[in-house]
Amino acid sequence: MFTYREKDNLIYKLHPLTMVTFIAVVFVLSLLLSNPVYLLGLLAAVGIVIAAADVLEKWKVYLKYSLFLIVLIMIINALVVQLGQTVLYKTAPLPLTGEITITLEALAFGAGMGIRLLIIISVFCLYTYAVHPDKVLKMFSKGGNKSVLVIILSTRLFPLLMKDYARITEVQRCRGVKLDTGGWWNRIRNYLPVISVLLLSSLERALKLAESMYARGYGSGNRSYYTRELWRPRDYIILAAIMICFIIAIISALKGWSDYSYYPRLSKVGSGAVVVTGIMTLNLAVPAILNWGWKKWPLLRSKI
């Protein structure tokens, strides 16, 4: 379904490239950095921006499902990986696997991976709800990339398809097709008419759509690219902050500050790492800070 809804806050009034840069940088850093403190900092930054974009409600749904996934990752990791010295639990010798130990380090490693996953899911959530899909796609389609058009078309057709599906279901039920009684096999079989109609009608529509595109000269030569996105000071400020954060992260990675070893024992977290993380998070939270100022001071609105 088309999930993007424009809301009245600064996050929606940025150049799409600014948002895409933010999302890309957070995504890359979440893979580059392994220190859980750094990862927590990234997560916090994304969370703050999501809150600023006013999509917390949607994020909560994502969080609910990913927490379940994280617990799963932790359990599996603890059961499979037998490294680590702080043994929390030891099973009796089992026939196939032998003795299984559950260590604090393995659990912590699972949790670290979980945070990484959470960051990735969160930026995905931000992308889904706060970035206009067509605008981003079009940015990458200068010169008329066909696969981009296919994606745009499917975002257009999906809601249509859902509507068709609901309507056809009703029509066929009125013809006596039983869709909610009988065993599962019967139900699947009874859905056949609905699916067949949906397929046939979609094919007919696709042909008409293609004709309309053809009549409007699609594929008649090089396409041009329409844009009216404007760059504003807010975009430069945010991009600069993101760049600073990115450079700090690269330096940390090269210097080894952001390394972290879970095995054989959890290594210590130095106060340096916390300070660096703090600076990075603050930089990444600039969109949210600007949004706060944008809402509070009308004068700032006109300046940025």
Binding site: F2, E6, H132, D134, K138, G144, L149, I152, L153, T155, R156, P159, L160, K163, D164, R167, I168, E170, V171, Q172, R173, C174, R175, G176, V177, K178, T181, P193, S196, V197, L200, S201, E204, R205, K208, L209, A210, E211, S212, M213, Y214, A215, R216, G217, Y218, G219, S220, G221, N222, R223, S224, Y225, Y226, T227, R228
Partner: protein, 566 residues
């Protein structure tokens, strides 16, 4: 000098042996507004597509003859040049919009032409201002109404600045208000911007007067070509063509020398009769008597709706305190604006929705206790789009499918329905290969095989030409005579006036008024047929064409006697 020139054009769609276009010769000077009329399948759409170059480039098939735009053979023009010269707007707005955002959709055509960004911005601004779309630039297309979608599609074509605007039944899927808006935009483009317009259309009562010239097509040929409405109307009457608007049909029926194309012209003619004085303009004696009596009787109602309230999950109150009793053989038309609750009410009768408060009883049984499938043999429901029904390889199987679902025997009913709906010859044809009108008949037949005592139809006249509408109306009257209770939702006032017995007006979830069509459809500014508007305050209570003829004859006679006595 002809701007569009079609010479000896013939065309066969792939794998067909009957020509869709048969030796067409046509010249259209720049700036003309040409209306193409004709029954479904007469070749109107094909001709429009051939001028746009979509035939044969997109469709393939066998093609002979030439089409010249601006003295250039279309076959020698680049596709981009053709797209710049001729823009083509299709019937269904849903299946011609590509983007999900209005702004992106409007620039789509211009991007295809490779126009520079600055020019696109300017044309976008111009076209959205002209069509009143400026406030919708960032709207999400699936959330727009049908009329707005069609306007967006038109804007996307106009932004390419074509010299010729080709339209293939652009209003057939729209409600009357939206249709009127699209037509007036097209008229304005023709008059103020000099764009050449070629439009295939079925709703002639709305566009007969707009055109400079009317082409009549039949079997792939142009059989008549004239600019005067009188000549076309008489020609059509003599050749038994059904496409004449009711007003013209009325005046032609009494062989009046002048044929009006608008209500205004018609009233001017009537007012010119010297006899029209206060004394004899009251009403037609027969009109009052034809009233359908909605009286309380002992009969068990077929459908009984009591204090029905319904609220959707999102909090929208769709039905408010609906009371309705329908008896066997009632033919009721439900009218009202979009979102008035018409479809929601119908869905309660078919059991697709269950009452929030109140009761709906079908043949004495509460729908709350019955599933949709249990109600199916009692309540037939024909949805707007017949395609939603059709998926089996043959027409016959499509009919048998319903019986089989409901475990009903085929005691000759399939054959009976096939012959009654004139589908005999198509029984082994794939329903998807049939025309719109035929598809609708198949869908209707697939419902009627259960012999439902109640028949519900949602916008059944959408996209039908006059002939098909008449066939549908006659069929419904036949069913009504056999005792079927018929409920039709439609925006089509002319159809309601000719065939319904009672009209139910709904607004914002409530029934505003319910009564005989003779009361409901007369004397209203918008919910009246053309015939009624014509006789308004001259002869009251005239609703159907038959009454109109009677009234007009009486007026003419009175006029003659007056003239003689003076």
């Amino acid at each position: 000098m002809a701007f569009i020139k079609v010479k000896d054009l013939s065309y066969y769609y792939p794998d067909t042996s009957k020509p869709a276009l048969d030796k067409i010769d046509l010249e259209v000077p720049a700036g003309q507004f040409v209306l193409i009329v004709g029954a479904s399948g007469s070749g109107k759409s094909s001709l429009v597509r051939a001028i746009a170059g979509v035939i044969p480039d997109f469709y393939g098939g066998v093609y002979g003859g030439n089409v010249y735009l601006n003295n250039q053979d279309i076959r020698n023009m680049s596709r981009r040049a053709v797209a710049k010269t001729a823009g083509l707007l299709f019937q269904d707005p849903e299946s011609q919009l590509v983007m999900s955002n209005v702004e992106q959709e409007i620039v789509f055509g211009m991007e295809n032409l490779g126009l520079p960004n600055s020019l696109m911005k300017r044309r976008l601004m111009e076209v959205t201002n002209a069509l009143g779309l400026s406030d919708h630039l960032q709207s999400f297309i699936p959330e727009l109404s049908g009329g707005q979608k069609q306007k967006v599609a038109l804007a996307s074509i106009l932004a390419m600045q074509p010299e010729i605007l080709l339209l293939d039944e652009p209003t057939s899927q729209l409600d009357p208000v939206a249709a009127e808006e699209i037509l007036s935009i097209i008229k304005r483009l023709n008059e103020e911007n000099g764009i050449t317009v070629i439009m295939a259309e079925q709703r002639l009562e709305r566009c007969f007067h707009l055109a400079d010239r009317v082409l009549v097509m039949d079997e792939g040929q142009i059989v008549y070509d004239h600019h005067a409405p009188e000549a076309i109307t008489y020609w059509a009457l003599n050749n038994n063509c059904a496409f004449i608007p009711p007003l013209a049909r009325l005046f032609a029926g009494v062989e009046y020398p002048e044929i009006p194309t608008t209500v205004k012209q018609g009233r001017r003619i009537l007012k010119s009769f010297s006899s029209i004085s206060e004394s004899n303009l009251k009403s037609l004696p027969s009109a009052g008597k034809k009233l359908v009596e909605i009286k309380e009787d002992q009969d068990q109602p077929v459908l009984e709706v009591k204090n029905l309230w319904f609220t959707f999950a999102n909090g929208q109150e769709a039905l408010k305190n609906i009371d309705l009793r329908l008896r066997s053989g009632d033919f009721t038309v439900i009218m009202g604006a979009n979102g008035a609750g018409k479809t929601t009410l119908i869905k309660h009768i078919s059991g697709l929705l269950k009452p929030g408060r109140g009761t709906v009883k079908v043949l004495g049984r509460d729908t709350k206790k019955l599933s949709v499938e249990e109600l199916a043999p009692r309540v037939g429901y024909l949805a707007q789009d017949p395609n939603d029904y059709l998926f089996l390889p043959t027409v016959r199987e499509e009919l048998a499918f319903t019986l089989q679902n409901l475990h009903l025997p085929d005691n000759g009913i399939i054959q009976e329905m096939l012959s009654r709906l004139k589908l005999d010859c198509y029984q082994n044809v794939n329903p998807r290969d049939l025309s719109t009108g035929e598809r609708q008949r198949v869908a209707l037949a697939s419902i009627l095989v259960t012999r439902p005592p109640i028949l519900l139809l949602d916008e059944p006249t959408r996209g039908l030409d006059y002939q098909l509408k008449k066939e549908l109306g006659d069929m419904l009257l036949e069913l009504q005579a056999q005792g079927t209770t018929i409920v039709v939702i439609t925006h089509d006032v002319e159809f309601a006036a000719e065939y319904a017995s009672a009209i139910l007006l709904m607004s914002q979830g409530s029934i505003i008024e319910y009564g005989s069509k003779y009361d409901m459809l007369s004397g209203s500014t918008f919910y009246s047929p053309q015939i009624n508007k014509l006789f308004h305050n001259i002869v009251n209570g005239v609703v159907t064409l038959e009454q109109g003829k009677e009234a007009l004859n009486r007026l003419l006679k009175l006029n003659e006697t007056r003239a003689v006595s003076v």
